[in-house]
């Protein structure tokens, strides 16, 4: 028996739009992104977003195994999204389940439009997303981290892919749903965009929205994604800024 009781809050959002974690509808949880934290991977990134802690690593372009999967004119892109057994309140059975198979696919399809796959014929680019701690919005956090890991691996890309979820709680369209809103909210809409063109590469919705709410959600998602994109660029540059500063110090 799991030693964990799920508690539903009495009010998900107050009339003046205060959420269970004290945020306003359009506010995002704190995000921190770090690039290059793994030694053996060709590229890596770590994202902390609210209570999410997610690692992403990229290997490749490298030789394809098994051989029959080789694509003669472009790179094969593989993605594995995986949740650690200790990432959830109740222990998650290790290994893929139907949810993680689907998420692996949508994450791959969010990132692939960004990659110049035709630059690496006959090779494979493996992307691994490991959720160490989950707190709603793991797929979008994973996309942000994986996109950084790809850039960190030096893979040729059209742009970074940034992602954020939006949702609906009653009449409120909210940014970056938290655990309570994920469990008991009315709609959830993870999205990702290929920047700077702002083309949508991941869009899922679960829960009804009127046309007006949908438009508002799309716009809110885009604005949040723009913010995350700035954070991504900052995270990619950060290691080099340290070098730059120390060089300046010497001079």
């Amino acid at each position: 028996m799991p030693l964990y009781v799920e508690k539903k809050p009495e009010v998900l959002i107050t009339e003046d739009g205060v959420r269970t974690d004290g945020r306003k509808p359009y506010e995002m949880r704190p995000v921190r992104m770090t690039v290059g934290i793994l030694d053996k991977a060709d590229g890596s990134a770590f994202i902390e977003w609210g209570g999410n802690k997610i690692l992403a690593a990229v290997f490749g372009p490298r030789e394809v195994h098994p051989k029959h999967l080789v694509l003669p004119d472009k790179a094969l892109v593989r993605t594995r999204y995986n949740m650690a057994p200790f990432s959830t309140p109740e222990r998650k059975r290790p290994g893929p389940d139907r949810r993680s198979v689907e998420l692996s696919k949508v994450i791959r399809e969010a990132l692939k439009p960004a990659i110049f796959v035709e630059n690496y014929p006959g090779s494979v680019i493996d992307i691994f997303v490991e959720v160490l701690r989950s707190d709603a919005g793991t797929r979008v956090a994973g996309v942000n981290a994986a996109s950084l890991a790809l850039a960190n691996a030096g893979i040729a890309m059209r742009g970074l892919v940034a992602a954020c979820a939006v949702g609906r709680v009653g009449d409120f369209v909210v940014c970056d749903p938290n655990h309570d809103e994920d469990m008991w909210g009315d709609a959830d809409m993870p999205m990702a965009m290929l920047m700077e063109a702002e083309e949508i590469t991941l869009l899922q919705t679960d829960g009804p929205m009127t046309e007006e709410q949908f438009r508002e959600a799309l716009k809110l998602g885009r604005n949040a994604i723009r913010l995350l994109y700035e954070m991504q660029k900052e995270a990619l540059k950060r290691p080099y800024q340290v070098v730059e500063r120390s060089v300046r110090g010497v001079v």
Binding site: E102, K112, E198, T205, G207
Partner: protein
Amino acid sequence: MFESEMLTHNLLKEYVKDLVSKGQRIDGRGFQDYRPIEVKEGTFTKAEGEAWIKLGNTQVLVGVKADVGEPFPDTPDKGVLVSNTELLPLASPTFEPGPPNENAIEVARVVDRAIRSADAVDMSSLVIVEGKLVYMLFLDMYVLDYDGNLEDALTIASLIALGRAEIPKVEVKEDGEIEVKEEKWRVNLKDLPINFTFVKIGDQLLLDPVLEEEQVSDAAITLAIDKEGRICSIQKRHGKFTMEEILSAASIARSKWPEIAERVREAI
């Protein structure tokens, strides 16, 4: 639809794209036309509810089997709905036997999500004894012939099968024994969430793509519309869309809902 099968002949690609740029499709339809939906007459299974439909040349058979069992501990006041898709090897030269792959899992979850997010099946009506015994509905989606747009075909067939299902009544006697009665009950469908799949070829959106259109498409998306015209689920698949394209797909889907929903109602 399926990337791994997209080793398409360049000639086909150019032919389809060329037609689209002239405002035409390979089967002569308009960009926003649905293929004809044919619902096969007769009984083909031992399911409590079933539907064999043809969407153009795509053929699917959905069976709803019912069972009773314990509810999930976190939803003691709700029944259980389990969805599964089988991409049978006889449906396409590219389908292989074996456990469901990511495509089969995705399409099952896309149909399931549309039905669930619209609250189409009254899950609380499936409860026999709260926390102890509930009806479990198994939605088994069989793909028999794959000529594109499984999402929409399976959604339509699933709704018909659910709407048609006649399930034996179950009673729990005082000594706790379960009695299966002759009497039947029907699933209460509160909504008809319909999935609408579009592919993007060049800068055009094509509703209800055939296989060749899926194969050469630049992007694909499926949106479910409920009876109030709300969007209740979305699954963007490969490729990329602009925000305007998504809003336009949503409004086309909304305008098509009454026609398809009427077809589903007729069939039930």
